[in-house]
């Protein structure tokens, strides 16, 4: 990927996911995606991972997916966070949960700390070429990988992608919003964890 790649607005991409998700899906979001998801409205089964340990969202998603094989678990991760925990791609495919969808919202930067380029993005690299997340996902063992740079294409495909057997990797090229803030915790994490567990472990009926 180079600086010339087409990018869709992240908020729009997430609005599409928000409309396509089922009420009984678990959605985990991190960093800027968590901020945007809370704007769109997080449901009782959603985990905006704030506060977080950077990079752990796919691993938490793997755990929930293994514990709840009847539920779809959708993780929206940032590219900076992904680079911090690339091994999680391998752990996910090792366990192979059919109900896990990992969406990587790649804006090329650490947006919420001031949009510094990541070590994987073209402007920060000696050869000026960004790293290939699609190739990484494939090489890590994801058999189903998708990439969207255009909001309309993503909106057309999201339903079938979420319904397919996973684990699935989806790369979304999204634009960074310079000057945007980080996500704010919606409340003390301990009680939120208890509530989330209660909702996730209820029979989806």
């Amino acid at each position: 990927m180079t600086g010339s790649v087409e990018r869709m607005p992240q908020l729009e991409a997430l609005r599409t996911l928000h409309a396509a998700r089922r009420a009984d899906d678990v959605i985990i979001t991190s960093m800027g995606a968590a901020r945007d998801w809370m704007v769109l409205g997080a449901g009782p089964l959603d985990l905006p991972l704030v506060p977080s340990s950077m990079g752990t969202a796919p691993s938490i998603g793997l755990g929930i997916a293994l514990a709840q094989p009847q539920r779809r678990v959708i993780v929206v991760n940032g590219d900076g966070a992904m680079l911090m925990n690339l091994g999680s791609l391998v752990s996910i495919t090792a366990a192979g949960p059919a109900n896990l969808i990992l969406i990587l919202a790649d804006n090329g930067v650490y947006e919420i700390t001031g949009a510094q380029p990541t070590a994987g993005s073209a402007p920060a690299r000696a050869d000026g070429t960004s790293v290939a997340f699609m190739g990484m996902a494939r090489a890590a063992g994801f058999r189903t990988v998708h990439r969207f740079s255009n909001a309309a294409d993503w909106a057309r495909s999201v339903g079938s992608i979420l319904s397919a057997t996973g684990p699935t990797f989806v790369l979304l090229d999204v634009g960074a919003v310079p000057g945007s803030k980080g996500p704010r915790s919606p409340g003390p994490a301990g009680p939120r964890a208890i509530e989330l567990r209660r909702h996730i472990t209820q029979d989806p009926g």
């Binding site: 691993s59 793997l62 929930i64 293994l66």
Partner: protein, 162 residues
């Protein structure tokens, strides 16, 4: 000190459903028995920071996970266990191999002996040091106490080899 069958039976009797692990030479010898246990699922991760997060997800999903790592992996785990145990307050229990505690034949002067217990204290993990086979039941007793209190905890298992 313990065989794989002993540990698999212990974890099963504790009600553990998933063992999230990276091996060392002691823990790795337990993996086949854990994998062969009908009531346990071994989940392999790539670094220990991941193990706490996978265990967190398992717990949030209603399972009963255990983190099984070496003390070196405890050092690797810092930010992840901080978030899981102290931000989200999830009562995840760990069994941690204490490298070089029984002898330093392989790694004379192993700094694991310097840092393991202070790091556990710094992360406020209530642990029991297990140095003899006779203490096996203490692992379960401590686990049950932590579970009933809804708090994290660990059993620190003395090891000889690296």
């Amino acid at each position: 000190m313990f065989s794989g069958d002993e540990m698999a039976a212990l974890f099963t009797s504790m009600g553990i459903t998933h063992v999230v692990s990276i091996p060392d030479s002691t823990i790795g010898a337990w993996h086949p028995a854990i994998e062969a246990s009908p009531d346990l699922r071994l989940v392999r991760v790539c670094r220990e920071g991941e193990a706490w997060a996978v265990a967190a997800g398992l717990y949030l999903g209603g399972a009963t996970p255990l983190v099984l790592i070496q003390c070196t992996g405890l050092f690797e785990s810092g930010d992840s266990l901080r978030n899981v145990l102290h931000d989200w307050k999830l009562p995840i229990f760990a069994v941690i191999g204490y490298r070089s505690y029984l002898n330093q034949d392989t790694l004379p002067g192993d700094t694991c002996l310097v840092f393991t217990e202070p790091v556990l204290d710094a992360w406020r993990i209530d642990y029991r040091l297990i140095t003899t086979p006779a203490q096996r039941e203490e692992i379960r007793t401590h686990y049950v106490a932590c579970r009933d209190a809804g708090t994290p905890g660990a059993a620190l298992i003395a090891e000889g080899k690296a």
